[in-house]
């Protein structure tokens, strides 16, 4: 029975694109050409809180590198999640440990009573070579009776090391590998030693099982794991998680929780200049995550394209349309029930001439009513694009491009669902809206 009444992780969600490419000797998870840190963030957040009536007081978005500085990044995520405009948002960035920094800030905010619940999202678009694409979302609240992941302590050790960094132009630089492994092993040893064995970190309140789980991720993870093993009690396994950048440490937390249900765990995450060790404990039934298969290489389907739209994203149009496009929200006539979309262009009801509406989310699942594969596109688009008119479950239709679907596999009747994707980055201001993807159960099956 949990005795710790402090803030804990009560819900979790994650998203990994299904695409994998081979880079050198390793296989890396890559995003599609129309996905970025914000769309990945929304995917994980919806997996975490999307299907439940969950209160979110604050959104903390962690990215290694913001898509835009001073742009509406976190606001895009908030709006897409259907959260009200007065929801606090914060963005943490700069290194792969930003997700953990956000998690600690969230815990502190809940502990201080400043927020009842904070949604922490770490989103990593990846680099297609070394860092995989992934996103993860954790809801931090006071758990009451909910099974939760509890943070018991952490130690951070840093040093001035230029070992592996990305400059302001986006180019990654590598220092001497042996030197990096040497320094990080030393930092990790110190952090893990100071943190102590997971079972001891709860000050004796809970007797932890002997075999605790430890997950290591980040820069020089194999060497870090070796160093951790050397300073831990012998039998412990140190699972090394592939590098998912800023999403990695939080995925490691969930993987460790899944590996140690009811017991203590430890994660160790590294950048080239800092090592962070975290001790925690997962209640039975607490959120968890398993490392996905990378058996099959599958290249992304969508090209990275940034076609000019009929008007720039800075136009007031996109502000007026933001809510309906990002939430996929229609308007239901109070008098006759007719649902109009897009509400900003349908101020008078076509069913009854009424003008009083309530917002109503459109269904996100459906099947293909008709479709086309356009193979002669204007300049700025890719070579081909499949567009689908979907019959939405529960009524209504929606027209959108597809994402991640092979045009030749399309057929009328195919189950599909709508997900937020990037339509363009033209002019440096991305536009986001819904695209049809194969229904997830279909993809898995």
């Amino acid at each position: 029975v949990p005795t710790d009444e402090g803030p804990a992780i009560t819900r979790a969600g994650s998203y990994l694109p299904r695409f994998r490419v081979d880079a050198g000797r390793s296989r890396v998870v890559v995003r599609n050409g129309d996905e970025d840190a914000l769309t990945l963030a929304v995917e994980a957040a919806q997996d975490c809180v999307g299907h439940a009536d969950v209160r979110v007081d604050e959104v903390m978005l962690a990215v290694a590198r913001p898509e835009l500085v001073d742009g509406p990044g976190a606001e895009v995520v908030r709006e897409a999640l259907g959260l009200p405009a007065d929801t606090a948002t914060a963005t943490m960035a700069g290194d792969a440990l930003a997700g953990l920094s956000a998690l600690f800030a969230a815990r502190d905010a809940v502990a201080a009573g400043r927020a009842g619940s904070v949604l922490v999202i770490a989103s990593e678009p990846g680099d297609g070579v070394r860092v995989g694409a992934a996103s993860v979302a954790l809801l931090v609240t006071r758990p009451a009776d909910t099974p939760a992941i509890r943070l018991l302590g952490h130690r951070a050790v840093g040093d001035v090391v230029y070992g592996n960094w990305v400059d302001s132009a986006g180019d990654r630089h590598h220092g001497d590998g042996r030197f990096l492994e040497h320094r990080l092993s030393a930092l990790a040893s110190r952090a893990v030693t100071e943190l102590g064995p997971p079972a001891m970190s709860v000050s004796g309140l809970v007797p932890g099982p002997v075999s605790a789980v430890s997950v290591v991720t980040g820069v020089a993870a194999a060497s870090v794991a070796k160093a951790c093993r050397a300073v831990s009690d012998g039998g412990r396994s140190e699972l090394v998680l592939a590098d998912y950048g800023v999403a990695g440490p939080l995925l490691a937390l969930l993987a460790a929780a899944g590996g140690a249900p009811g017991g203590p765990f430890r994660i160790v995450a590294s950048t080239a200049s800092r090592v962070l060790a975290v001790a925690g404990r997962a209640d039975p039934g607490a959120p968890s995550w398993s490392v996905p298969s990378t058996d099959r290489a599958e290249p992304p389907t969508e090209p990275e394209s940034s076609p000019p739209l009929s008007l720039p994203t800075s136009s007031p149009f996109f502000n007026r349309a933001a809510r309906e496009l990002l939430r996929l929200e229609g308007a239901r006539c109070r008098d006759c029930g007719t649902v109009a979309f897009p509400p900003s262009q349908r101020p008078i009801c076509a069913g009854c001439q009424g003008d009083r509406f309530d917002p109503v989310p459109l269904s996100r699942t459906g099947s293909v009513h008709t479709y086309v594969v356009n193979r002669f596109l204007p300049s700025g688009f890719g070579e081909q694009m499949a567009l689908v008119l979907g019959d939405l479950d529960g009524g209504g239709r929606y027209w959108a491009p597809t994402s991640g679907m092979r045009p030749d596999d399309l057929a009328i009747g195919l189950p599909v669902e709508l997900r937020l994707r990037r339509f363009t980055g033209h002019g440096g201001a991305p536009a986001y809206a819904m695209k049809f993807v194969a229904r997830r159960s279909e993809t898995l099956g």
């Binding site: 086309v372 356009n374 002669f376 239709r397 491009p401």
Partner: protein, 396 residues
């Protein structure tokens, strides 16, 4: 308005690539051609109103034309002229509006000119414009093909319309155009040619799509009761209807046709007091092969779902029971948007006066049907009924 307005003259330019002529030059050429067609002659001072159908503007989109553009192009500054921009039905809508101006008693003789310069821009750039037109998200990546192709795909799925039947529409159009010196695509083609031409947008290949055209067309309209001053063989506007419909795909009631065509046809038929069986010849909006097959059904030329079989049966060929697009249609004559509807009137004016030469169809009732459907996201249709007889019920 039935039979209160007569067409007394009609003319057009060759449709195609007119790199040496601008919007005004094409408009003027069509205007002169229409004036010259008036049997007893007409003086430009007889004109008391004008309408100018044009969609894409001039100077590669960097000039927004107005009525003054046409008035100045035809040397009549001072004439009251309005520009009509209503998508693909702009030309036929301009005629509809001109007819209403005459039937209302405000004007007596009108000139309607449709003129368009699509080849002023390279194909890809022109496509870019259409791909960018409309709602930035709901019309994302759309081109002219993507706004007509989803219906063809659904029609094939629901009714078993075949790819070959689509191709037969293009083959018929090319055959008719080979007899039309004003047509853009005059070379004969086969079903295999259509199937093997480069893909554009499923289910269409290049030869399922109308070309991008420059061109102009003009008609002269007047009060029916004064028509015989100008010609012994006027053609009367027996009925005309315009309809709009739910705009975006997701708002449309069906994806196997266009409600606006059905509604516009009903309005035109009701005004004319006739039905689809009374028609001798049709010029309809075959911007894509699938659009012709679907429009057969929307116009009532056959039952819903039977459009593919209708073209396959040969009924809509020049020698068939109900010839459709004897001019070669948009597919082969060409589709300079603003001029298109006006040019359909030019063809039907010739057919009803039995002046269409090699492509003359046999007349029984002397009634012809004109149809356009389009506009961004396809939200508008115009249908007209033309008759060589004036039944006398209308009085000028």
């Amino acid at each position: 308005m039935r039979n209160q307005v007569a067409v007394i003259g009609a003319g057009m330019t060759v449709f195609g690539e007119h790199f040496d002529s601008g919007l005004e030059q094409l408009a003027a050429q069509a205007y002169r051609s229409a004036l010259a067609s008036v049997d007893n002659g007409i003086d430009p001072t007889d004109l008391d109103v004008g309408f100018f159908a044009n969609v894409m503007g001039s100077l590669a989109g960097n000039e927004i034309p107005s009525g003054a553009t046409l008035a100045n192009a035809i040397g009549l500054p001072g004439l009251p002229v309005s520009r009509v921009e209503n998508g693909c039905p702009s030309g036929s809508d301009a005629i509809r509006i001109a007819a209403m101006a005459i039937a209302s008693g405000v004007h007596d003789v009108a000139v309607v000119v449709g003129s368009e310069k699509l080849r002023e821009r390279p194909t890809k750039e022109s496509l870019l414009e259409s791909g960018r037109a409309g709602h930035p998200i709901l019309s994302y990546a759309n081109t002219a093909a993507t706004i007509f192709a989803p219906q063809a795909m659904r029609h094939m799925y629901e009714f078993g319309t075949t790819r070959e039947q689509l191709a037969m529409v293009a083959v018929k159009a090319a055959a008719n155009a080979s007899l039309n010196p004003n047509a853009q695509r005059r070379a004969g083609i086969t079903v295999d040619d259509v199937l093997n031409s480069p893909p554009v947008c499923t289910p269409f290949t290049v030869l399922d799509c109308c070309p991008q055209s420059d061109g102009a067309a003009a008609v002269l309209l007047c009060r029916a009761d004064i028509a015989h001053r100008f010609t012994d063989k006027p053609v009367y506007l027996a009925g005309v209807g315009l309809a709009t419909e739910a705009l975006y795909y997701h708002e449309k009631t069906r994806m196997t046709g266009w409600d606006s065509t059905r509604l516009a046809a009903r309005r035109a038929f009701d005004m004319a007091g006739i039905g689809p069986r009374d028609i001798d010849v049709v010029e309809l909006h075959d911007c894509f092969t699938g659009t012709e097959i679907i429009s057969y059904e929307d116009l009532g030329l056959c039952e819903e779902g039977h459009g593919g079989k209708l073209v396959e049966s040969g009924a809509t060929a020049l020698t068939g029971r109900i010839p459709v697009n004897p001019s070669g249609g948009l597919l082969a004559k060409g589709h300079p948007i603003g001029a298109t509807g006006v040019a359909q009137y030019v063809e039907l004016f010739g057919q009803l006066r039995e002046e269409a030469g090699e492509r003359q169809v046999p007349l029984r009732s002397g009634i012809a049907l004109q149809h356009n459907v389009g506009g961004y996201s396809v939200g508008i249709s115009v249908v007209s009924v033309l008759s060589r007889e004036r039944d006398g019920r209308a009085d000028g």
